[in-house]
């Protein structure tokens, strides 16, 4: 049981110091979780610490491979609206 950091991570360092298990480390091209060390915060906190401070939606996945912070959950930008804005920019 462990969480995973994927490529959308922006290397902001925020998760590293809050992990109670020292499971997170700096790596290239982005931060990673040592799956042997990650306890999913069991026994320490009721919520994943890393995913509670991470500012990037979708950057951290749970053990089922699902985004702990799905699109729109942190920024408040509805995903359709984001897609629209990005399509608009692409068109230029």
């Amino acid at each position: 049981m462990a969480v995973k950091i994927i490529e959308s991570c922006v290397n902001c360092y925020a998760c590293e110091p809050v992990c109670p298990s020292q499971a997170i480390y700096e790596a290239k091209p982005h931060f990673r979780v040592n799956s042997k060390k990650c306890t999913e915060c069991e026994g320490d906190y009721p919520v994943y610490q890393c995913a509670s401070i991470c500012p990037i939606e979708g950057a951290i996945l749970n053990s089922l491979g699902e985004a702990i912070n799905p699109p729109g959950s942190l920024t408040g930008i509805p995903p359709e609206k984001m897609a629209e804005a990005m399509a608009e920019l692409q068109a230029h």
Partner: protein, 496 residues
């Protein structure tokens, strides 16, 4: 020493002066002497000092503990930097090396700030390690730090141990309901907290931190981002609150929101204020408090004087090779600082004499005019129109000349269809001068001259190397004599 501060309103002159007028800037003179002294040679606070001295920022603090709707965490903290900018992240050791390399090369550099790329106090170890070493190894450099305030109360004790000159807190509201429209979440006590509850905690921490700093005798500046329709009406109240608690400056910055930054405000189409709206708010707030109109929202890793960025000279590989003898550099810096100080002092006296003279003259009865000035420092007009990356905007009126703001030459290029490939740099520059009726520079080329005139902005290259305020007043008087100031011009303010 009875030296004038901020926009140089001499204390003795009182009332209106050519350096500043009425209720706006001379309030600085009412500050306690200890604060005035600290502030008057500070490039971030004193309009005239920042023509001579420089500041730099180092990016050592990547993490943040809150989210602001105008920020995209792929980029630097938008509170202290321009949105959409990425700085090279440094370790504390690299930051110390870079600071000393810059200080030895650019002796005018007197202030080192940590402003990002995240929240400095959300990275206490990296931030304090940098401060601790610089306090010891480069004691002639003033240190400053900016923060969203959430972790501030816990940091005050440690901050008071270093050579900290001032702390900047970004306070956009004192009302949790408004806060919920600006901050979607905070990380607090091991949880992510959202909505009004989150905003309430953040506001409490900011206010508590502000009070604690004041109690410790540390200078506090407050920044606010003006977000039309969200907190614009409320910022006068913010100004009142933070001033009553002892903040010495309140700086209102415009929201910059573009869809391509991927921020909430950018994507949702929230607009920023127009230059007029910003100026009106700054005027409204200055009745309560001094505003820092020359703030240019510099980058988290900016280096240099007056909007210039010499960061490229100090990249990591370059500073790695530099051998710095800081003791020797410090002696050299001292001599240069004294010379600059003497020059500033004599210019201030000169200006005060001019103000006296101006007060003796018959008072004009004309409307105020905005003018843009191209300068690279020293308080004189010394830049070619085509080379200016930014302009200083001054207002001339029968009461004198006062500094209003900086404008980036292409600041208002919104990336929309009227802009981009189809619009030349020249057109963008001219657009950024909207509202101005004249532009003063050392030289203006033929093509821009014609286009400026067509846009209703009178180019003027007749005052090269002259002090800015004098030249602006001279042009104003010429305009008055030519009868140009009787009616409201079509070009100015109408569309701004």
């Amino acid at each position: 020493m009875e030296l004038p501060v901020l926009n140089d309103a001499p204390k003795a002159a009182g009332g209106c002066s050519a350096g500043s007028c009425g209720s706006t800037d001379d309030q600085m003179d009412q500050l306690p002497d200890s604060i005035r002294e600290k502030v008057q040679n500070h490039p971030c606070y004193s309009e005239d000092a920042h023509h001579y001295f420089a500041r730099m920022h180092v990016a050592v603090a990547p993490a943040c503990n809150i989210q602001c709707h105008y920020c995209n965490r792929k980029y630097d903290c938008a509170n202290e930097s321009r949105p959409g900018v990425v700085s090279e992240l440094l370790t504390p050791d690299q930051a110390v090396k870079k600071t000393m390399a810059v200080a030895a090369t650019i002796p005018q550099m007197t202030v080192l700030g940590i402003a990002g790329p995240g929240d400095p106090l959300a990275n206490p170890e990296r931030t304090f390690e940098t401060f601790r070493r610089l306090s010891e190894e480069a004691p002639d450099i003033k240190l400053c730090v900016s923060t969203n305030g959430l972790a501030l109360p816990d940091a005050v004790e440690e901050l008071s141990k270093h050579n900290i000159d001032h702390v900047t807190i970004t306070i956009n509201t004192v009302d949790p309901e408004i806060g919920a429209k600006i901050y979607p979440w905070i990380f607090w006590n091991n949880r992510r907290i959202k909505g009004v509850k989150a905003a309430k905690i953040l506001i409490e921490q900011q206010q508590k931190g502000l009070e604690m700093l004041i109690a410790k005798g540390i200078l506090v500046k407050v920044n606010s981002v003006m977000i039309p329709g969200v907190n614009d009406k409320h910022l006068a109240e913010v100004s009142k609150v933070v001033k009553s608690k002892g903040a010495f400056l309140h700086n209102v910055m415009p929201l910059i929101a573009e869809a391509e930054h991927g921020t909430f405000y950018g994507v949702m189409g929230q607009r920023g204020p127009t230059p007029d709206e910003l100026q009106d708010l700054q005027d409204a707030c200055s009745g309560d408090m001094n505003m820092m109109r020359h703030c240019r929202q510099c980058r988290a890793d900016a280096v240099g004087l007056l909007g210039e960025d010499r960061g490229d000279e100090f990249t990591l590989d370059k500073i790695e090779d530099m051998k710095i003898d800081y003791q020797a550099a410090m002696e050299k810096r001292k001599v240069i600082h004294e010379a600059i100080q003497a020059e500033m002092d004599s210019k201030r006296l000169e200006k005060a004499a001019k103000v006296e003279q101006f007060k003796q003259e018959p008072k004009l009865d004309t409307r105020p005019v905005l003018m843009a000035v191209a300068t690279s420092g020293q308080g004189v007009i010394n830049m070619h129109f085509g080379h200016a990356k930014e302009f200083l905007i001054y207002e001339a009126s029968p009461d004198g000349v006062r500094f209003i703001s900086h404008r980036k030459a292409d600041q208002y290029c919104g990336g929309d269809t009227t802009c981009g490939e189809t619009e030349s740099t020249l057109m963008r520059t001219i657009r950024s001068l909207e509202g101005c009726e004249a532009v003063l520079c050392s030289k203006v080329g033929y093509e821009p001259w014609e286009q400026l005139e067509a846009a209703g902005i009178q180019p003027n290259g007749e005052h090269p190397m002259e002090p800015i305020e004098e030249a602006v007043m001279a042009v104003y008087k010429e305009m008055a004599a030519a009868g140009k100031l009787d009616a409201k011009p079509e070009a100015a303010r109408a569309s701004a």
